[in-house]
């Protein structure tokens, strides 16, 4: 069963961008076009989560949030340009579950959507399929932190998995050092050039363990590229 997300945003570009992004993660996304009858649409579609803009034509987001609240307890996340403390308080007092300020990042929107869906409907409500990345017989399991090749497998650390994931996604292009650093940098640890170098060395070693020689190519001054040296029969 696919979960449904309703986007109520009067800037159609933002709405479309959000829609196309969220769809990729396996959700059914509906975008409102009729801002006079948001509640009716809500009742028709019965979404599992609502993304709601504050500034809307005719009635504002607060109003619709209150209306939705009289019928449903489904998670509502506000999206707004106003970052003031009062605006956030207003949103929460009108029944919203969370608040995102413009300009925002896809990552944050996705993380918030997921966490609210999980909170509201439980961890296993959505049939989540494990993500596997394939490249020329090489398979990365980012959630298990494993790398498989030719019936062999190695365990990875989170950082190594992140690097390999970027390399596979970028292939055959170069993954820049900056992009890799950004990916490795998480809440608790701040990485620097050294951390990246150390982890690149480790990734090389992991590739070697799988019998892949020169799989990771350094592009001087730019970054790294996955070098598919192992598959003779298929070209890029």
């Amino acid at each position: 069963m696919m979960q449904t997300i309703l986007i109520v945003e009067d800037d159609h570009k933002i709405a479309e961008l959000l829609q196309s992004y969220i769809v990729k993660y396996g959700y059914h996304v509906i975008v409102t076009t009729d801002f006079e009858h948001v509640l009716q649409q809500f009742q028709q579609e019965q979404p599992d989560l609502v993304l709601l803009d504050v500034n809307l034509p005719s009635y504002d987001g607060y109003y619709w949030c209150r209306q939705i609240r009289t019928h449903s307890i489904c998670p509502v996340i506000f999206i707004s340009a106003r970052a003031g403390e009062m605006d956030q308080i207003m949103a929460l007092e009108n029944g919203a579950d969370d608040y995102i300020t413009k300009p925002f990042d896809y990552g944050i929107v996705m993380a918030k959507i997921r966490s609210h869906l999980r909170r509201a409907y439980g961890e296993y409500a959505s049939k989540h399929e494990e993500i596997i990345l394939h490249k020329e017989g090489l398979s990365l399991y980012p959630e298990r932190l494993e790398l498989h090749y030719n019936h062999q497998s190695v365990l990875l650390t989170k950082k190594e998995a992140d690097i390999i994931e970027s390399l596979i996604e970028r292939h055959p292009r170069v993954a820049s050092r900056e992009a890799l650093l950004e990916k490795l940098w998480d809440d608790q640890t701040y990485v620097d050039e050294n951390t990246l170098n150390v982890n690149i060395t480790r990734v090389r070693k992991k590739f070697l363990d799988l019998g892949l020689i020169d799989a990771l190519e350094t592009v001087r001054g730019i970054g790294y590229r996955l070098h598919v040296s192992w598959s003779k029969d298929t070209s890029l």
Partner: protein, 324 residues
């Protein structure tokens, strides 16, 4: 006359006290003749009244004028005309003042709305760019961040005026704020190849502050530290600790430093100084806003700098709690 008397009442009282003190001392010393005593008092009072009379006559015009209402400048027609004119002028300036205040208010409201409206197009560009994973787009993103931080500065500038309605004091964890701000400037660090070294000393310190403003202040300090470290130095130390029984947040860089001639003025609005001319995009507003906010929040701000050695800025919180 009344005003004059009021103003000199204290003088008269002190004189009388003086007379009695002198008399009492002589009396206690054993000199007990009423005649000369009374005579000397009479003499004293006479001199005092002489002085007061002189004062009053020499300044009576002045006193009289002060007590009379503005209305009656004089009865002569020319005086009345002048008075009329003065009143008109006064009313005119009052009106001017109101108009200008209104205009300024409108302007502020307009700026505020405009900034918020700009955020939607920024979001659209930002989202579009995030979809494309190419190096050219990284540069667009960089410019976007610059625009968005510029817009934020305007918003904070506007908020400064309505600070009393805008802030919300509560207990805040310094380590948490540091973590959030560093996280928020992740791309800035990476792009400039400067890396934060976060040192949480003396445990988790909590202090009373406004979350949003503290975030803004620390952001400004970090942006400066990164800007003036590039490209030669790669480390910025951000720490929280207790010094002299006060909680402090310290941002230290090893960058170009601030010339001694400039350091006193860095908190002035629009001041960019030597470094502002050498590096791009100094508005001279960052540190000004930081100081204004810190004064309103009752935090102290300290800055130390040596050319080519680096700069250290501290936010000092007079009270704190420690939670381990």
């Amino acid at each position: 006359m009344k005003l004059f008397f009021k103003e000199h009442l204290l003088l008269i009282v002190i004189q009388i006290i003086q007379f009695s003190v002198v008399m009492v001392i002589y009396w206690l010393d054993g000199y007990r003749h009423a005649g000369p005593a009374l005579y000397s008092i009479m003499l004293g009072l006479f001199l005092l009244s002489g002085y007061l009379a002189y004062q009053y006559y020499s300044r009576r015009q002045y006193y009289r004028r002060l007590q009379e209402p503005l209305l009656s400048l004089d009865q002569a027609p020319i005086a009345e005309a002048l008075e009329q004119l003065l009143r008109q002028q006064y009313r005119y300036y009052q009106q001017q003042l109101v108009t200008i205040q209104q205009q300024q208010q409108e302007h502020l409201t307009f700026m505020n709305q405009w900034v918020h409206q700009m955020k939607t197009p920024l979001s659209v560009i930002e989202l579009t760019v995030q979809n494309v994973d190419e190096p050219e787009f990284a540069s667009i993103r960089e410019e976007l961040e610059r625009m968005s931080s510029g817009l934020n500065t305007i918003l904070y500038m506007a908020r400064l005026r309505t600070f009393e309605q805008d802030f919300h004091i509560r207990m805040i964890s310094l380590s948490e704020v540091i973590r959030e701000v560093v996280q928020d400037h992740k791309r800035l660090f990476i792009r400039n190849q400067v890396y934060p070294d976060v040192q949480i000393k003396d445990g988790d310190l909590w202090t009373e502050s406004d979350q949003k403003w503290l975030f803004f202040m620390l952001s400004q300090l970090i942006i400066n530290a990164v800007k003036y470290s590039t490209p030669t130095h790669h480390k910025v130390i951000i720490s929280s600790s207790i010094q002299q029984n006060q909680a402090i947040i310290e941002v230290q860089d090893y960058g170009v430093g601030i010339p001694a001639s400039d350091i006193k003025r860095v908190f002035e609005p629009f001041f960019t100084g030597e470094n502002g001319r050498r590096f791009r995009e100094s508005t001279g507003m960052g540190l000004y806003l930081t100081r204004e906010a810190s004064q309103r929040l009752n935090h102290r701000l300290e800055i130390e700098s040596t050319i080519d050695v680096g700069t250290t800025v501290r936010i000092i919180f007079p009270s704190y709690q420690r939670k381990d």
